[in-house]
Symmetry: C2
Subunit: 108 residues, 2 copies
């Protein structure tokens, strides 16, 4: 049985337009927060908020270097999300029931 709460957290990264834009910026490589900020129409604290969600999803990882925090897309996290998505949408493989192709219903 899956932990839906944890799974949902992963995909939270992708269901907000600001976060998608941040990911788009990160696709060209690691960026520090100030560069992201320059390219978005949001405030500093809002960026920080979204970066926290992105990091918690595992899709983004951060690296602090002195005053600056650098963010990049995590290959590991991305692969995990990909596998998870696959699992969540894949037909359940239960050894016993393999060929029942009809809709399950409690009527007729």
């Amino acid at each position: 049985m899956r932990d839906h709460g944890a799974d949902a957290k992963v995909f939270k990264a992708f269901c907000d337009v600001n976060r998608l834009q941040i990911l788009e910026l990160l696709r060209s490589g690691e960026k520090c927060a100030c560069v992201l900020l320059e390219n978005l129409k949001i405030g500093q604290s809002t960026l920080s908020y979204h970066m926290k969600i992105l990091c918690e999803s595992g899709i983004v990882v951060s690296r602090i270097e002195g005053k600056w925090t650098h963010y990049k897309i995590s290959e590991e996290g991305s692969e995990y999300a990909l596998k998870l998505l696959q699992t969540l949408t894949q037909r359940e493989t239960v050894s016993s029931d393999c060929c029942s192709c009809e809709s399950q219903s409690h009527h007729g």
Copy 2:
């Protein structure tokens, strides 16, 4: 340039625990709304709301049969989401800049 709004819609399917539970139920095959309702702790109108979001994401498709609406996971929609996730997290491939591995920043 991607349509972040449209992309976000796809992943909305996966960032709510009720919807993840619905998907889990659908993994074993097509189900009618009443069967889903029996297996969830939500009301009928709430289920209808979530099914709409799932259908709009393209991950689920519905089929009306008389009084009943049957839902199932769309293979096509799932594949699309998978490809999309891949794209969104993949390193951007720009012909000119191929080997710049350093963090982009406007300082130092």
